[in-house]
Symmetry: C2
Subunit: 281 residues, 2 copies
């Protein structure tokens, strides 16, 4: 993973690959990059970041406070159209909806994901924190491990997205990579974008869904496709690396929930998410 010259918010891989071009009337063109795939699947968090960018342009408020995406069919890299609708505009919050479509092999427009979201302005919020939640216990960065430490795993060959991400995991949560999953359903570690771009609310929408899934730590192989993911962005993240913790409490009846929390370098809880995913048979 070559570290490019330091990228910045607005001038980075993530910004270029989530760019949307307005056609007018709340419709946007975009091009889903093959750089954010896992095997052949376009990462769901990358899709949420792209749709979230379109909604931030269409709505009068810039930042996703709460965004729910229901994944209705599998995306492929290539062109896509996002159609947004403004549901309600208020003084401090606005609600909008968006759908992302692609053209399938038969030339028909097919919906890939539908999103409902409420936007506000993070910079207008006070800094007051009234609760005592604490960041996850992630060991120091140097003691955490990345894909280069597990050459046998060779995820980087089939997970193009790993070229965009700098993930270093708590060694206690990577037993699955050595054939010894903990069974707890927990994965945590450090995160930055590989090109050095700092986090912003849109990149957080991607980050909540870019870690190896908890299903690996539960001893499951194969993919757990997301049915729905809801993310709350609670604070503009400070510059510097993020700590990410994901956990599953209930794998039952072929489905599991996966909760993510993201903390920034100032020890602020900047994002919380929960997804419902389908367990592979």
């Amino acid at each position: 993973m070559a570290m490019a010259a330091q990228a910045s918010i607005g001038n980075s891989e993530f910004d270029r690959d989530t760019a949307v071009v307005p056609r007018g009337s709340g419709v946007y063109d975009t091009h889903l990059s093959p750089g954010w795939t896992i095997l052949h699947a376009v990462n769901g968090g990358y899709l949420l970041g792209t749709v979230g960018r379109a909604l931030g342009d269409a709505l009068p408020h810039p930042d996703p406070f709460t965004l729910s995406g229901h994944f209705v069919s599998a995306c492929t890299p290539g062109p896509a159209v996002i159609r947004t609708q403004t549901v309600r505009t208020g003084r401090t919050l606005s609600t909008g909806q968006a759908s992302l479509y692609q053209i399938d092999e038969d030339g028909r427009e097919v919906e890939r994901i539908r999103v409902l979201a409420t936007y506000g302005e993070l910079d207008a919020l006070t800094d007051e924190v009234r609760t005592s939640a604490t960041p996850p216990a992630v060991p120091p960065y140097e003691r955490c491990v990345g894909p280069a430490d597990a050459p046998g795993l060779d995820l980087a060959r089939t997970w193009a997205i790993l070229g965009r991400l700098n993930i270093r995991l708590d060694p206690d949560t990577v037993g699955w990579a050595l054939g010894a999953p903990s069974g707890k359903g927990e994965v945590r570690g450090w995160f930055t974008l590989a090109d050095g771009r700092d986090a912003d609310p849109l990149s957080l929408l991607m980050t909540v869904d870019c870690f190896p899934p908890t299903s690996f730590d539960l001893g499951l192989k194969g993919w757990t496709p997301t049915v729905e993911l809801t993310a709350h962005i609670r604070c503009r993240p400070a510059p510097g690396p993020l700590r990410v913790a994901i956990a599953t409490r209930n794998l039952a009846g072929g489905f599991l929930e996966e909760d993510a929390e993201i903390w920034d370098s100032r020890d602020r809880l900047v994002a919380q998410s929960r997804q419902l995913a389908k367990v592979p048979r």
Copy 2:
């Protein structure tokens, strides 16, 4: 709170008050009952149960697996129209959208809530549970306390909804009723519907949002209006009382998340929800 003759699923207050009448083309009429209000506000969970019933009729699958509602304006008791749209129909899951509208004082149709949901069939899921989450530590029913144990509070006079609910709270989480909130942001207890109707997936959509809010236990007064609530229904609840635990970890910048989990009499985690709510100034 008079205990009526034992009600049943399909023949109860909740069923009558969430009834929807199809007009055709996915449009439903309903009448929001004043029996599910808190002060003048119609309970959000009751709204989700009502909209959830319309979607269960409109979609080919009966049960809400994951349902996200964004609350766009305040409902009042009285007539309402629900317009549904089928987003995608699959073999095991279908996705739909619904909006509930009311006529305002100026005779205009105003949207109150918009919902995006994915439905499936709970009875088609296996009974397999692979994780080790445990029910919340709620003391025995007899040791928990209800509104009748706190006559000074007199919530029942202004909370019409309390006539529909049989809630008994863990004494450790009711300090707020005596002016001594714990500050932890936790409320837990037992729950049944007052008329004895057992729980079903639709009543769970109401139950995730019917407990006294965690903001009370954080020492806040006044209302915390829901911006968005997402609920996952994970299993059809067994007959008998439910245990409900709600918790807030992060009250910051004027917003808080509130997580709810509901366990049934067989110790199954039947519902999980998270909402983003606005803290009163």
